[in-house]
């Protein structure tokens, strides 16, 4: 198992009730699989950075990765 940190921002804090969480995931877990595991309701556009970098949905998460999840905010 791998230990990673997931950080939520803006509306995703309200949706999940958390600012961040440390979780354990199996080896070779992809970003898509992680999102299924986190059970964040669908429909909302999610922007995801891994250690500050955008990665494809099939990226395999690594030990100590920091995942930031936030919505695109477009109003003005």
């Amino acid at each position: 198992m791998l230990k990673i940190k997931v950080k939520y921002f803006a509306g995703f804090r309200t949706i999940t009730g958390k600012k961040e969480e440390k979780i354990e995931i199996p080896q070779k877990t992809t970003i898509s699989r992680l999102l299924e595991k986190l059970k964040i309701p669908g429909g909302e556009k999610k922007l995801i950075l891994i250690n500050g970098n955008r990665q494809p949905d099939n990226y395999h998460l690594k030990e100590n990765d920091e995942v930031s999840i936030f919505p695109p905010i477009g109003g003005g």
Partner: protein, 340 residues
Amino acid sequence: MKKKLKRYSRQILIEEIGEKGQEKLLSSSVAVVGCGALGTFTAENLVRAGVGIIKIIDRDFPEISNLHRQLLYDENDVKKKIPKAVSAAKKLKKMNSTVMVEPFPDDLNVNNIDEILTDVDIIFDGTDNFETRFLINDYCLKNNIPWIYTSAVSTFGMTMNIIPGKTPCLRCIINDLPVPGSVITCETAGILGVTAYFISSIEVIEGIKIILNKNNINKYLIVVDVWKEEIDKIEVNKDKNCPVCSGKKYEFLKKKRKILITGICGMNKFYITPWKPQKISFERIAERLKSVGKVTYNNYLLKVTLPEYQIVLFADGRVSIEGVKDEKEAKSIYSRLFGC
């Protein structure tokens, strides 16, 4: 102290600015694209701070539902239907007659962007949609002009400095235009005026630092929640696959990447087609839009009925808007409801 600097004497006392910095501000040329809650606050602060030339670009007219947050408009502007850019410019000139204020009551698009933004040193974001932001991002990266992405909705605000060659760009974070309805907008989720003022304050100070060539500009994506007193900085790195800052493909400066708007002659009806078909899930969108008007949907389309407009969102992302007089109004409604 020179006579022209006297009105800025208290600002000049700030060590980081000084007379030299003030002279630099006075010789700068800036643009504020979009003059709603973000844009009015940003423009007022830049004008009072003494930028030399400020261009104000906005395609809309003030509405009564804007007045709780958009600082440069009043009931008279709503009644007289004066374009926001014109109304804002008139008020800004009264605040500082020594600054040149140029209003552009127009939709910023691929056809006019070169002409409108020519010779600006920096662009401040006050827009309400991602298509215009992607256009600004392309323009700035291509022409080596800094810009500051800033947005606000509900109690959330976001801002990031984008300096070509030095920082990541907007497309390093947001790969492509969000699917219509997949982002919350001020129209659907509301907005507190102070959300916009808070995040715009950061935008203005960062802009001043960029104009003055300071080396302590913010390198993060800043996210705030004004209701919960939360300010976070998200680390963002350049995406080596970014189509704009790595690939130098300025797709939004090419007409084929624009959303397509077609009018139905004599019917006050316009169709808006995203540049590529989308897969839409109506359930969440319906939930969000029910505060705006009557919403009904089936597997194929979602219909929103407002007193003046009838809007239909199709499952492939196309939108028809009935009751609008021109393309500009259609685009405005589209941005407000779907945030694209």
